[in-house]
């Protein structure tokens, strides 16, 4: 049997990052974070604005290099310059604003941009684009102009572009912040499929607690430190702790907590409205 230790895809050891070190405007981005991101898991990162989530995310594919401590991706140290290209291929990033990530005039060309730059034979590029479009449910849109897609479609295209690089891990930094509810739901469904069917490790940064609920594990960041780690049920049982970090519970969990406080007996760990109704009706 493989131990958990062997399953780490990304390993952070005493990672600290200081912006503008030694200059004016010096400030700590993240401080002394150690932890493993496991192969094949879906990890959500939550935390208030300025808590260090994006700074941490940018370390996962060597966009930022630690001020001290180390980040290892599949055994490769991000500090070593020769590892850079392999790390960037292994860990793909999708950002918040879909409009800033368009690179081509057609959807399929946009998705092909990454693999083409790897210098792959065109048949291989075609195959990968095909697969990525299918998995992201974009096949019908492949000859459309990216700038005319909806926000949700653009984000799915950005995910497909990363997917065509055959990464082991995908880091998504608030990918649904600009989407409408349908676009968000759609994106979350495809991220779930990416994780389960393609076995890709997912790191999702989000302000939406109901998205964090979908993950296998949650990391909570506060003032640059990793302050909580656990399953959604574990994390969302600690409402007062989360409130201290400027976060809140998902609505149904908050309501369950209030009802418990007023003396109504409900089981621990309620996260969805269906679970709540089920336990009320018992």
């Amino acid at each position: 049997m493989v131990s958990i230790r062997d399953q780490a895809l990304i390993r952070l050891s005493e990672l600290t990052y200081i912006y503008n070190q030694g200059e004016t405007g010096e400030r700590t981005g993240i401080i002394n974070i150690s932890g493993d991101i496991y192969r094949g898991e879906w990890l959500a990162m939550i935390g208030s604005n300025g808590s260090g989530k994006s700074t941490l995310a940018r370390h996962l594919n060597a966009l930022l290099i630690p001020t001290s401590g180390t980040v290892e991706v599949d055994g490769l140290d991000t500090k070593v310059a020769e590892n850079l290209w392999e790390i960037r291929r292994l860990v793909g990033m999708v950002f918040q604003n879909p409009d800033n990530q368009l690179v081509a005039a057609l959807v399929e060309e946009d998705v092909a941009f990454g693999p083409e730059n790897l210098g792959l034979p065109s048949l291989e590029v075609r195959l990968r684009v095909e697969q990525a479009l299918t998995l992201m449910n974009l096949h019908d849109l492949r000859l459309r102009a990216p700038h005319l897609l909806s926000g949700g479609q653009k984000q799915r295209m950005a995910v497909a572009g990363v997917l065509a690089m055959r990464p082991l891990c995908m880091v998504l930094d608030e990918p649904s912040a600009m989407l409408d509810p349908a676009g968000r739901k759609d994106l979350m469904t495809t991220i779930g499929r990416l994780n389960r069917e393609a076995g890709i490790t997912v790191v999702l940064i989000t302000h939406f607690m109901e998205e964090a609920v979908l993950a296998n594990r949650i990391w909570v960041l506060h003032e640059g430190a990793l302050v909580m780690a656990g399953t959604p049920r574990e994390i969302f049982q600690q409402g007062s702790q989360l409130a201290a970090y400027n976060l809140e519970l998902p609505g149904p969990a908050e309501l369950a907590e209030r009802l418990r406080r007023s003396g109504i007996h409900l089981p621990e760990g309620i996260l969805t409205v269906e679970e709540l109704v089920h336990s009320i009706c018992q």
């Binding site: 208030s48 912040a177 600009m178 409408d180 509810p181 302000h207 400027n246 007023s262 409205v273 009706c281």
Partner: protein, 291 residues
């Protein structure tokens, strides 16, 4: 009393080109003085196009928009509307340019007839309205602030002109839960204190349910529904069809009803949902006793 009237508004982008898109089709709506109106709708439903008509930034292809008694196609009269109807775009903090918070907020007022003393008063008041301490922030560079603070600077820049109507496009996008709540409380405060009428564009139905007096739901450039939140959310199927959701308390109400519990009023907020559950438990206890 309505402060803005939109009558049979049609707007076509890129008319006469192969890219012609009918963005708004026969939209009629009003904004009433002093209200908090939420405009909701999926991406591409025409929300942003509509709100850009409210201060004459876009002119109707057909139909009419009357703002404070002024037809926006009347060039001369509509020229002053930018001061009366303040527009806060999505991610407004990306539009900051002043070297200091003060300079940035003062930009609008300085483009009016106001003298420096007046400008100073307006800046002070606007900073106060968005909860930014004048002395602490006035000389800071906007770029040293947090995203939530930068967004409030951008809002103050619009408020400094004392608009009668404040129109905000997704002002909470990208803010953390506490920042979001604080922002909405502030906006609600502006409306409640009679400082301005508020038109808020949002995808967030929990926010709409909690803060709106009235809602307008757009879909594919047409008005799908117009009314008070409780009526709008009483028909979830319709909203789901166009890709919107109902707030979870409304779903809770529906699920309880489906399980056979008599819930009269649709819950919209977490407070109402709490009361609903308590009421249901009383009914259940009574039923058990009767058996």
């Amino acid at each position: 009393m309505s402060i803005i009237q939109v009558i049979n508004l049609v707007y076509v982008y890129s008319r006469g080109t192969p890219f012609q898109v009918n963005s708004l089709q026969n939209v009629s709506m009003t904004v009433d003085e002093g209200e908090f109106l939420v405009v909701a709708g999926p991406t591409g439903s025409g929300k942003s196009t509509l709100i850009q008509h409210l201060n004459g930034l876009l002119k109707p292809t057909a139909g009419k928009v009357v703002v404070l008694g002024v037809d926006t196609t009347n060039k001369k009269a509509a020229a002053g509307l930018w001061r009366q109807v303040g527009l806060v775009f999505q991610y407004p903090e990306t539009q900051l340019f002043g070297e200091t918070v003060y300079e940035d907020i003062a930009f609008g007022p300085r483009n009016t007839e106001a003298d420096e003393e007046q400008v100073d008063r307006w800046v002070k008041r606007a900073m106060d309205q968005v909860d930014l301490d004048y002395h602490q922030f006035r000389d800071l560079s906007p770029f040293t602030l947090s995203s939530g603070q930068r967004r409030r600077v951008a809002m103050a820049g619009v408020l400094a002109l004392q608009p009668r109507v404040l129109v905000l496009d997704e002002p909470t996008a990208g803010l953390d839960p506490v920042g979001r709540k604080r922002m909405l409380q502030q906006i609600k405060g502006l409306q409640r204190e009679g400082i301005c009428t508020v038109v808020l564009v949002t995808h967030n139905m929990e926010d709409a349910a909690r803060w709106a007096d009235r809602m307008l739901v757009l879909d594919q450039g047409k008005v799908l529904r117009q009314g008070i939140p409780r009526d709008i959310f009483s028909r979830p199927e319709e909203l789901n069809q166009v890709g919107l959701e109902v707030p979870f308390p409304a779903t809770l109400t529906r699920l309880l009803r489906e399980s056979g519990y008599p819930v009269e009023q649709l819950a919209l907020t977490i407070d109402e949902a709490e009361q609903t559950v308590k009421d249901v438990r009383v009914v259940m206890a009574n039923r058990r006793e009767m058996r």
